[in-house]
Symmetry: C2
Subunit: 477 residues, 2 copies
Amino acid sequence: MSHDSSSERITTELRAWITTAAPGAMLPSTRALVAQYGASPVTVQKALRTLAGQGLVESRPGVGTFVRTVRLARPNDYGWQTAALGAPAHPVPQLSTALRNTPADVIALHSGYPDRELLPERLVRAALSRAVRSSAAVSRSPAAGLPELQAWFAAELGAGAPAGIAPPVPTDVVVLPGSQSGLGTAFRALAGAGRPLLMESPTYWGAILAAAQAGVEVIPIPSGPQGPDPEDLVRAFEQTGARAFYAQPTFANPTGAQWSPALADQVLDVVRRHGAFLIEDDWAHDFGITSEAAPLAARDDSGHVVYLRSLTKSVSPAVRIAGIIARGPARERILADVQAETMYVSGVLQAAALDVVTHPGWATHLRSLRQQLGVRRDLLAAAVRDHLPEAHLPALPRGGLNLWVRLPDATDVVRLVRDCEQAGVMVAAGNEWFPAEPTGPYLRLNYAGVNPGAFPEGARIIGRALAGQRRHPEPSI
Amino acid sequence: MSHDSSSERITTELRAWITTAAPGAMLPSTRALVAQYGASPVTVQKALRTLAGQGLVESRPGVGTFVRTVRLARPNDYGWQTAALGAPAHPVPQLSTALRNTPADVIALHSGYPDRELLPERLVRAALSRAVRSSAAVSRSPAAGLPELQAWFAAELGAGAPAGIAPPVPTDVVVLPGSQSGLGTAFRALAGAGRPLLMESPTYWGAILAAAQAGVEVIPIPSGPQGPDPEDLVRAFEQTGARAFYAQPTFANPTGAQWSPALADQVLDVVRRHGAFLIEDDWAHDFGITSEAAPLAARDDSGHVVYLRSLTKSVSPAVRIAGIIARGPARERILADVQAETMYVSGVLQAAALDVVTHPGWATHLRSLRQQLGVRRDLLAAAVRDHLPEAHLPALPRGGLNLWVRLPDATDVVRLVRDCEQAGVMVAAGNEWFPAEPTGPYLRLNYAGVNPGAFPEGARIIGRALAGQRRHPEPSI
């Protein structure tokens, strides 16, 4: 048995013993525990440290280790906080289903993150190990990020710049601890509390959450499998005076839409004519399947496109790194917000992220990822067609991690999600992706989660739950 | 020469060559570079990757590596952004001097961070290495943090709870990517945009920055070497209807004040009577010299104290981890804000932070740190007394990283800071620590920076600049 698992076993057994012991009781000595468990003193001490860290025991040096005296908690009345806090200024949506962790035996189609087997795990561990040995482990990064990482973000976007368009420069980049904080920053810096912000609808629930927190007034712009209609956009800009539009032009979450080059031109044109910003969230840049991401920001050097690029989902959820690229005064406004919010980002994570994306193995990984995502997408789509014949699945997405499935009109999605969960399948109700009322019953099904072999079984269970709902319509209470 | 430094040398030399080369010029082949530098192909390729990452070269597989065609940037006019952005809703202060990086030959008394030699570097590298090998490197942390780290934060605070006070439980803790984001979160969640927030004055400039970003109305409460006067606090609560007071009761930044137990009781009493929150920023918990931190939060189980504890400064600036402890609905309001802002914190950093603070070497490190801080504090204080006789240095702080030096009334602090910088000494003007107009000319001198041996020389230079100012008063223009 390894050192670690042996220490874990001792921790578990001692924890069980502690629950039956009197407060203040003395634990057996380290020597006695060594003998009892046949483990090394280091292992036993590690277990004791864990228990102390959990507040279960306390050690008195030179005396021994004791079960911590648990003070009986009387129920506290926090009622006074109600008046102090007041009602929230902006109702903040519940956290999405997409973030829930689930037991291993559940078929998980709800997640927003790629499964571990889709991550470049060896690259990530090697890159983190190198970063840990470098000076990044003990020094402070500049507020805007490590210059080399700024340069990489700028060069990656600039590589797509057509002739005649100036590519971004490294100082246009601000490094962020994940793209979620970039959303809040962009909304605060470019719209601001109480001011209107146009958003695709449906769109990423995390963006809806960030908009609520920033206190902006969200103006939903309908967006389907082809992206938004530029005429809707013109109307909204004119009616609201908004100066910013948040969108995911590439493999949008949840619809999977990728804007055509013509639509991209039209939207850029509308945005420019209205003296506005396009906040381009390129969340799925690394998740192309039959198409490549071609950021609009590469085609704009007039400062109208503010570009958000995340590495968290494609590198590792532990390497929380994103970059935001903006030009002109907007970049200053953004940097000021980022500094007030996070001051600077861990240099270890920045160095590791840069190491991964500049390693020759990264391109190899992306090729293999593309192929695996394609297989998974097709497998889940086939399962949905087979077992959910009454559902409507628009054209297959050319990238991203999700299928966006339209259910029959009368479907009670909340009941469906609950029934599926009881039957061992986690799915996400489409409702969470709408800034306003949902326009119909949708499910978002993620094909990047664990165990794609279970996709057919998962679809079968959803189909059964859907059929059950048709047979026994639940009375609304 | 090591692998890394050899690759850095090649990078540097090639970069110099590139600046003189024509755009599109082909670099020597890898084989030629290997021969030229006597380095391995891996080392040469690493250098080329670095240059590619910086956008200086591009490689065409099977062809070679080329100097990147730099497109001539025409000057862009971002004037349209002025109208789109509008004036900032809340003027955001300039970033503090305390964040500036300086060349090695400068005497740096301005910094807010302990020098690398004061960090537990071996513990940090070992802890990060272990975290990198664990599953934390490739998995997503729960939104509120790793349960073991939540438990540690709760147990550390709970260890100081007197009899009859229920210690916090692990779920009262929310883990943050550094305490700066915790300030914004606490101000948004507990006060809210447009609502009043009481703050000590002078106080931490990062808190003033976060308050400006959150859009709260800052009400300064004068606070000196003994802390605030409870009567000022009562008056401010009554006049403004504020429901929250931000303070640093332990080794306050910049004054170094530590509240007496009697003052702590009085403030807690005032806060409770006004149905308000005390936001206790325990930034210097690990920096006691002749006194220990004794958080007020340990003495409150009625949810009135919201406690912010950072590990970044004492563990490593790369391990950006802090915890916020709150009870009752306030904790929910805080968690909602944290989720909207950061979603979750890198598990690698959390695991490493926990590893460091539960390692037996941590206590040893803190004892040595205490001793070193004491020596440095006394050395700088003696230098100030020797070379700045006209400055007033209140009682020595019992902990923290700074001396707060009052200068003669007529001193032009901005000029003094500039003159010192020109003479090779970085100091921070006290002005940055006042939410409103400064009440006098102050310097904050940090004794945790590089090279304490230079403290006397630093003080001598400040003294000379001060004397020069007396001899040649600058006309105000």
